[in-house]
């Protein structure tokens, strides 16, 4: 029942070490579990235990060798307006989110529209550890060891039609479990979108975990997008629906302020946010600021996607 999946790599990366608080929580939990008679209580307990066991993953050549941002910072400094607009809010309030059961429906211009249970997505393929830079539009950045699958794996499984040109991502917006949704700061649900070729790009990740564990709720559990060459807000969290469409979809931030947020939102030190410069960034944990790199340092892989486009107009 609690089988430990076989390791595919021999050396232990920092991300494979279970954080102490998680480890201790699990011990508490086992203690409580032992107090119960083996019986009816066992099934839900095993489910809960399963969600806390370290996830097996294979290393990816797409990872950056940079030092990951400490887990504490990754999980306490978040923009996730469904739980409040302060960056400390998600860590304080996201515990109410229910991530099981969870389904993701893929619909629109596909041959095989399908609704996946979250556990089926975990079984789509071997999870990869991808250590990516994350650059927020606000001017700070992190390095995060994500666990997940290429989004292309999921999209290919439903067979996009030739007419599909864009992919729309719709996040959960449940006012009962997501208190921020009760305030109309954004036109809920949170919407994001990519061009189909961006969505199919090998760097585009469907993240299911980070630091060797399932995604913490404040980071967009149970599954989120990670598009490392775009500003962080392009990577929708707690996704419930993916729709393949012909026309460029509207996004939540474009609706909120079309002058400041464009559809592409590629990291670009030469295109400023109307209210602040994007030329540099503060890496969380560092004192001096760094120069921001075009496409967040992923230009070699993704610049060809935008060949011939004026990125000052298509910002």
């Amino acid at each position: 029942m609690l089988s430990i999946p076989a390791r595919r790599t021999t050396d232990v990366t920092p991300s494979e070490i279970t954080p102490r608080e998680v480890f201790e929580r699990r011990r508490d939990f086992l203690g409580t579990a032992a107090g119960f008679a083996l019986g009816t209580a066992l099934a839900p307990l095993s489910a809960a235990l399963a969600s806390e066991k370290p996830l097996a993953s294979i290393k990816s050549p797409l990872s950056t060798p940079e030092k990951p941002t400490p887990l504490k910072d990754v999980t306490s400094y978040n923009n996730f307006y469904e739980f409040g607009t302060d960056k400390a809010d998600p860590a304080l309030h996201a515990h109410t989110l229910k991530t099981r059961p969870w389904t993701v429906s893929i619909e629109g211009l596909v041959k095989q529209p399908k609704t996946f249970a979250i556990d089926d997505i975990f079984r789509l393929g071997a999870l990869e550890e991808r250590i990516y830079r994350l650059r927020c539009v606000e001017g700070w950045s992190m390095v995060i060891p994500w666990l997940g699958l290429p989004l292309a794996t999921l999209l290919k499984s439903v067979e996009p039609l030739g007419s599909a040109k864009y992919v729309e991502f719709i996040s959960a917006a449940d006012p009962k479990t997501m208190p921020g949704v009760n305030r109309s700061v954004i036109d809920w649900p949170y919407l994001e979108g990519l061009r189909l070729d961006e969505a199919m790009h090998p760097l585009t990740l469907l993240a299911l975990g980070l630091y060797g564990e399932v995604l913490p709720k404040q980071n967009g559990a149970p599954l989120r997008l990670v598009v490392p060459w775009k500003y962080g807000f392009k990577s929708g969290k707690s996704i419930v629906k993916i729709r393949l469409v012909e026309k460029q979809p509207q996004t939540a931030w474009m609706k909120a302020n079309p002058r400041e947020y464009g559809f592409y939102s590629n990291v670009n030190p030469e295109v400023d946010h109307p209210r602040w410069s994007q030329a540099s960034e503060r890496r969380i944990g560092e004192f001096l600021k760094r120069k921001t790199l075009p496409f967040n340092g992923y230009a070699d892989q993704v610049a060809p996607l935008y060949a011939g486009m004026d990125l000052k107009i298509n910002f």
Partner: protein, 217 residues
Amino acid sequence: MAWWFALSPGKRHVGLFKIALFAVCLIPLLRLVWGAWNDTLGANPIEFITRSLGSWALNFLLITLCVTPLRKLTGWNWLLQLRRMLGLYVFFYASLHLSTYLWLDKFFDWQEIVKDIFKRPFITIGMSAFAMLLPLALTSTKGMVRRLGGLRWQRLHRLIYVIAICAVVHYWWLVKLDVSLPAIYSVLLCILLGFRLLWPGQGRRNDISGNFKPAQD
């Protein structure tokens, strides 16, 4: 009514109260120093410090603007003796707030800073507010009041109303999306400025009669 007058303390008590208030006004700064030392300011301590100092400059500005309405409503004229210190705390926190921008955000890259001032409206208005605050701080001494003459001094110091409006707009314009906090500051400022317009006897009378006496403290 006896208790009411008991709240009009003697000179010595006001002096003690001012010393206590001076110390209390330093708490927001000490909290930041303590937090920075013990690493409790979160993942982005520099952002936290910058924002906290800006908020406190604005808080002290609104507190300073409370002195006159409170004095009129309660009749406690001794409150006026606290106003200069509170005003100088506005300048103190605003200077620290500006310093964090110049140093920790721009690392004294003056070319970038000048570009920011011309290009970013929220920086433009924030800098304007600070530029107006500077002469008020410089003319806060008794000697300067005397040299300027009460009337001119008072007219100059009415700039504080413009500064307050600029400061709230500065906050409003820098917020990414959720303007609820700047909106609360706006409402408070409207109440404080509205009081001055609506309270009988406020406004221009002092100017005309020329009887105005600046606070002697």
